[in-house]
C-alpha cells in the first residue's frame, strides 16, 4: 500500500490530468460554436490569444468551464490575474479548485 503522502500526491496528479482534459474538451467544443479554428497542436507553451481562439471564444470558454466545473476563477479575484499561456490557464483553474477544496 502507498504511504498517505504518496497517495495524496498521486490523486492530485490524477485530478490535474482530469482537469486539463476537461479544459481541452471544452476548448474544442467552444471553438466549434464560436466558429474559431484552433491551431493543430496546443501545448503548455501555446499563447492563448494565438491558439485560434479570439476574445469572444475565450469568454465562452470561461463561461462553459464555469458550468462544467462550477468555478470561474476570474470572477473571484481581488486582483485580476490573466494567463498568457495554456499552462498558466490550467494552473489558475487548478489553484481555484484547490482553494475551493481547502
Amino acid at each position: 500500500m502507498l504511504p498517505p503522502i504518496l497517495f495524496n500526491l498521486f490523486n492530485g496528479l490524477i485530478d490535474t490530468v482530469k482537469l486539463e482534459q476537461t479544459i481541452r474538451t471544452t476548448l474544442a467544443h467552444v471553438a466549434t460554436i464560436a466558429n474559431c479554428k484552433l491551431i493543430a497542436d496546443i501545448t503548455d507553451d501555446t499563447i492563448l490569444l494565438q491558439s485560434g481562439l479570439d476574445s469572444l471564444g475565450f469568454a465562452m470558454l470561461v463561461a462553459q468551464l464555469e458550468e462544467d466545473l462550477g468555478i470561474d476563477p476570474f470572477s473571484q479575484m481581488q486582483i485580476a490575474v490573466y494567463p498568457r499561456t495554456f499552462a498558466e490557464f490550467v494552473t489558475i483553474y487548478r489553484q481555484a479548485q484547490q482553494d475551493g477544496n481547502d
Partner: protein, 424 residues
C-alpha cells in the same frame, strides 16, 4: 474657432502622430490647407469621410471642420447618407477660387440607436471637444488609439490628443498581441480602452513593459479586480474609469481607482453634473449645459435626465448594474436582444425566443438565448442549424453563446416577454 484655427493658434511644434514615420502639427495644418485649396467645391457642402489612415483622416477633419456644412464619419458598417452629401476623397475641382468665410460644421456620428438600427446623430465641434483637457502635462503624452476614430469613443481620444498637442498612434486594428507590439514600438504612454480590451492586453503578459502614465477605462462597467490590477502594475499612473451616456451627451470620470462612484456625489455636484437615483434604481443626471432641443423634452421638472442605467448603493459607493432596456454589452459592443430574437424566430421550429445577458468575467456580458421549440423538433439537429443561421444574419458578438431549450417563456400583462426574470 474651428479645429484648424485652434491648432494654428496653439502653434504646436511637436509630432502630432506617428505611424511609419511621424507627422508634425505643422504638416497636418499644411495638408489641411492644401485639401481646402484643391477641393473648393466641397465648401459649404456635406462631406462623408471614411477612415483609411490616421494622417489622412486627421488632415481631412482639420480641412472640413468649419469649412463644410456637415461631416459624416462613415462607420465600417453600411449606413445611408443624404443624397447631396459628397464622398471624400473625390476628384479635385477645376475651379481654383475659394471664399474665406468660416461656418459651423455639424459632425454626424453613427450610433446603434435604441432599436439596433444604426442612425446618424449630429454633434457640434464644441460638444465633441467639451471633455478635452488642455494642460502642459497632457502635451507630452503619446496616445495609443484603440477605438475606431469614426466612433464617439475613438474621436474623443483623437481630439484629446490633437487639441492638447500630444502625439497619437493608431493601434485600433489587429489582435491583442499585434496591438501590444505596436504600442511597445511606438512608446505609448496613454491609453483609453474598454475593460475587455484591457483584459486582453493583460493576457499578453507584456502590458507592464509600456511606460503608461495615463490609463482610461470606458464603454463598459469597470470592475474592482481589473482596477486593482492596473493600479498595481502602474502605481504612479493616473487610472480613470469614465462613464458616458452618449445618448444624454454627458459623462464623468472617476479617478479614485474604486469601481462605481462615491455615494457623496448624490449630495454634491461633480463634473458639472447633479446626480439622483429613482425608485426603479435608474441613475438620473442633471447637466450644467442645457442639452440639445431633442433631449430637452426628456428632462423631468427639476432638469434631470434618465440615463437608463441601473445602479445600486453598496456601502459608500454607487455601483453600475447595466442597462435597464436590456441592451447587452459584449466587450463594448451593444447588442439589442429584440434584434437577435427576430433572427432566431426566422427558424420554423422556433416558437418563442428570449435573448438576455449572462455575466462574463472576460467580456463583461455574453448573449444567451432561451428558446421554445415545436414538440417534434430534433434538438440535437436544431442546435447547429441555429448557430449557422445566426452566423449568416448577425455579427459575431450578437450570436447567442448558448441556446437553452425551455418549455415555456412567461409573458407579462401586456403579452410581452417578461424581461425582468432571466429564467422565465
Amino acid at each position: 474657432m474651428d479645429l484648424l484655427q485652434q491648432l494654428q493658434h496653439a502653434n504646436y511644434s511637436s509630432a502630432a502622430l506617428s505611424s511609419d514615420g511621424s507627422v508634425s502639427y505643422q504638416q497636418l495644418i499644411a495638408g489641411a490647407l492644401a485639401i481646402r485649396q484643391q477641393y473648393p467645391q466641397l465648401q459649404q457642402q456635406g462631406v462623408a469621410l471614411r477612415y483609411s489612415t490616421l494622417p489622412q483622416f486627421l488632415m481631412a477633419l482639420l480641412a472640413f471642420d468649419g469649412w463644410c456644412s456637415a461631416l459624416y464619419l462613415l462607420p465600417e458598417t453600411d449606413l445611408d447618407i443624404p443624397e447631396q452629401v459628397r464622398h471624400w476623397p473625390c476628384e479635385p475641382s477645376v475651379i481654383q477660387h475659394t471664399t474665406r468665410s468660416s461656418q459651423e460644421t455639424l459632425w454626424y456620428l453613427a450610433t446603434s440607436g435604441t432599436t439596433g438600427t444604426p442612425k446618424w446623430i449630429a454633434h457640434t465641434f464644441a460638444s465633441l471637444s467639451r471633455a478635452v483637457k488642455i494642460a502642459a502635462d497632457q502635451s507630452t503624452l503619446h496616445w495609443g488609439l484603440c477605438y475606431q476614430p469614426t466612433r464617439f469613443a475613438g474621436l474623443q481620444v483623437l481630439l484629446q490628443s490633437v487639441l492638447s498637442g500630444a502625439c497619437i498612434s493608431d493601434c485600433s486594428s489587429g489582435d491583442a498581441e499585434q496591438r501590444i507590439e505596436m504600442m511597445l514600438s511606438s512608446g505609448i504612454t496613454a491609453l483609453s480602452a474598454t475593460p475587455s480590451l484591457w483584459r486582453q492586453l493583460l493576457m499578453t503578459g507584456r502590458l507592464n513593459q509600456l511606460p503608461l502614465i495615463q490609463l482610461t477605462l470606458g464603454g463598459e462597467i469597470a470592475d474592482q479586480a481589473l482596477l486593482n490590477k492596473l493600479a498595481r502594475l502602474f502605481p504612479s499612473a493616473r487610472v480613470l474609469h469614465i462613464y458616458a451616456s452618449t445618448e444624454v451627451g454627458v459623462g464623468f470620470a472617476v479617478s479614485d481607482q474604486q469601481a462605481g462612484f462615491p455615494l457623496s456625489w448624490l449630495d454634491t455636484r461633480h463634473s458639472g453634473l447633479a446626480f439622483k437615483i429613482d425608485e426603479q434604481q435608474h441613475l438620473w443626471l442633471k447637466p450644467r449645459h442645457t442639452p440639445d432641443s431633442n433631449l430637452a423634452r426628456r428632462l423631468d421638472s427639476e432638469g434631470y435626465m434618465d440615463t437608463g442605467d441601473l445602479v445600486h448603493i453598496q456601502g459608500n459607493r454607487v455601483q453600475f448594474l447595466g442597462r435597464d432596456s436590456g441592451i447587452i454589452n459584449v466587450g463594448g459592443n451593444k447588442v439589442h436582444p429584440e434584434q437577435v430574437e427576430q433572427v432566431i424566430l426566422q427558424i420554423a421550429n422556433v416558437l418563442q425566443a428570449k435573448v438576455y445577458a449572462k455575466a462574463s468575467s472576460v467580456l463583461g456580458q455574453l448573449v444567451v438565448a432561451d428558446i421554445v421549440v415545436t414538440s417534434d423538433t430534433d434538438r440535437a439537429k436544431l442546435q447547429p442549424q441555429l448557430v449557422v443561421h445566426c452566423q449568416q444574419h448577425l455579427a459575431r458578438y450578437q450570436i447567442p453563446t448558448r441556446f437553452n431549450f425551455v418549455d415555456h417563456l412567461s409573458t407579462n400583462a401586456t403579452g410581452k416577454l417578461n424581461r425582468k426574470d432571466p429564467h422565465g
